[in-house]
Symmetry: C2
């Protein structure tokens, strides 16, 4: 389940945080039709941190209903409190999740021991495979390889979603971690603009924001990387370059909300205080999308 | 209200996040008896980020009941979502708060414009004076002087709680901001080990973690700083030095929970995933507390 393209859709919701189930269904159906390898529901892009427990459950039930077992559903269950994350993990299983994604959401900065105990408690709460969500840009906690090695020995912890290492360090960093964890433990990467190269360097999965909206061209790029075709990866990745520039400048989250609107898929805005893209950026985005043939549009 | 010693107590709660009203009452009564200038309820030390809306309201009602108007009650109303922070601000006013403390809690990193709009929306939601809670260590957002200048023009935004600048930069940094904001706008400081020097450099308030537990010696130190008595500040601050070392190494939050236990005030633990202090650190802490005569113990 933690291999290949894991596509992370937004979770369209109204200004009060009520999830728009029909719009979410359209996003999920696009991903099922494109045959992504998994759906990463309620990831950072899915604004899990901004949604109530009840709305998160509604979103999972709806996505499970639309995907109907055709694509594995990996669900983000991060929360500031350990007991809340345990409840969310149990909810996710009951609502139809196939796997869990857990980020060490923090307010008071966490120690390694606190993160270890937190993951242990959540892994024990729900009997589903769990992926460590290493996302320092939002959680402000960075997993050391030693902590991942320790967590990989815990029953149920099956994978890690790491930020893609900088170009030039990918193979060395990947192989250093690979040597510390069981062969069955999957090492995947996020950070869309670097992830294809991380797959070329041996990564097992691409946890992708753009894949949640444009699954067809993203899958084509991933398959080239999985085949070790560096030339095709470079050619295909160049088509995404204008989009990557916007992701880097304005955040992938804000950009994909606007892209879903421009593409006519849904008209949601990100949860306040996050603001929609300004008009000038929307025009640049529309041009960037032109170079990407989605097939399903 | 945003001047002098603002004392920040912990919010004792059970492992499920249910606030222990009687233990909170003991903490509040100590602060009232010591005549602190304000109580900073549900600050970072008060684990506001880890408590539900209902429990936050219970804590405010209880604290207002115990303080009975004798000491102004400043209440933390931070939340990831703007609408939630607005609801918390309305709740705080209804439950007896005299002022608000608002931190730009973030998951997706926020832009200056997003923080400005967020503060505007919360300031408009509740008709209470509001203090900007600039706490980059937990929110991962740093206010520029320019943004504080802009927010100081918003109706109801009356103060800022800044981290204490490094020694040597205090006066210059304080005066640079002072020149940008109205004379009525209060500039206070947190970071207990540097705050007395920030008061000597002109700061209007000390937002204090140790003051929430040991109000008498903290007030004595503050009054020396307010009187401009640098020699007495240095002498008094030296008594706190063993405690500051523990704050820096283990975080003030974890340390004051253990201190409240050692002093017999309450036996709560911080919310998981935060872990209580290990035994060796508790022994160092007990020794550090010996040098501080609390009076009220």
């Amino acid at each position: 389940m933690f291999r290949g393209l894991s596509a992370f859709p937004i979770t369209p919701a109204d200004p009060h945080g009520r999830v728009d189930i029909e719009a979410l269904g359209r996003l999920v159906q696009r991903l099922v039709k494109a045959e992504v390898d998994s759906i990463g529901l309620l990831g950072s892009t899915g604004t899990y941190a901004y949604l109530s427990r009840a709305e998160r459950r509604r979103a999972i039930e709806a996505a499970a209903g639309y995907s109907r077992g055709r694509v594995p559903l990996i669900v983000g269950v991060g929360a500031l409190r350990t007991d809340d994350a345990q409840d969310l993990a149990r909810d996710a299983k009951a609502a139809g999740a196939d796997g869990l994604l857990l980020a060490p959401v923090s307010y008071t900065p966490l120690t390694e021991e606190e993160v270890f105990e937190h993951f242990l408690a959540v892994a024990q709460a729900a009997d589903l495979p769990l992926c460590i969500y290493n996302n320092p840009g939002t959680t402000h906690f960075t997993f050391s390889d030693a902590l991942i090695e320790r967590l990989a020995k815990v029953q149920g912890i099956a994978a890690v979603k790491n930020p893609s290492p900088p170009a030039g360090e990918m193979r060395a960093r990947h192989e250093a971690l690979r040597a510390k964890v069981p062969a069955s433990f999957a090492i995947g990467y996020s950070g869309d603009w670097n992830a294809p190269d991380a797959i070329l360097a041996g990564g097992d999965a691409w946890y992708s924001v753009v894949g949640g909206l444009l699954p067809a061209p993203t899958l084509a790029l991933l398959r080239a990387a999985q085949a070790g075709n560096a030339a095709e990866v470079a050619r295909s990745n160049a088509l995404f370059q204008p989009l990557w520039e916007l992701f880097k400048a304005l955040s992938s989250l804000r950009v994909v909300y606007a892209a879903a609107d421009i593409m006519g898929i849904c008209h949601a805005e990100p949860p306040r205080p996050l603001l929609p893209l300004p008009q000038a950026a929307r025009q640049r985005l529309a041009a960037a999308l032109e170079s990407l043939d989605d097939g399903g549009r």
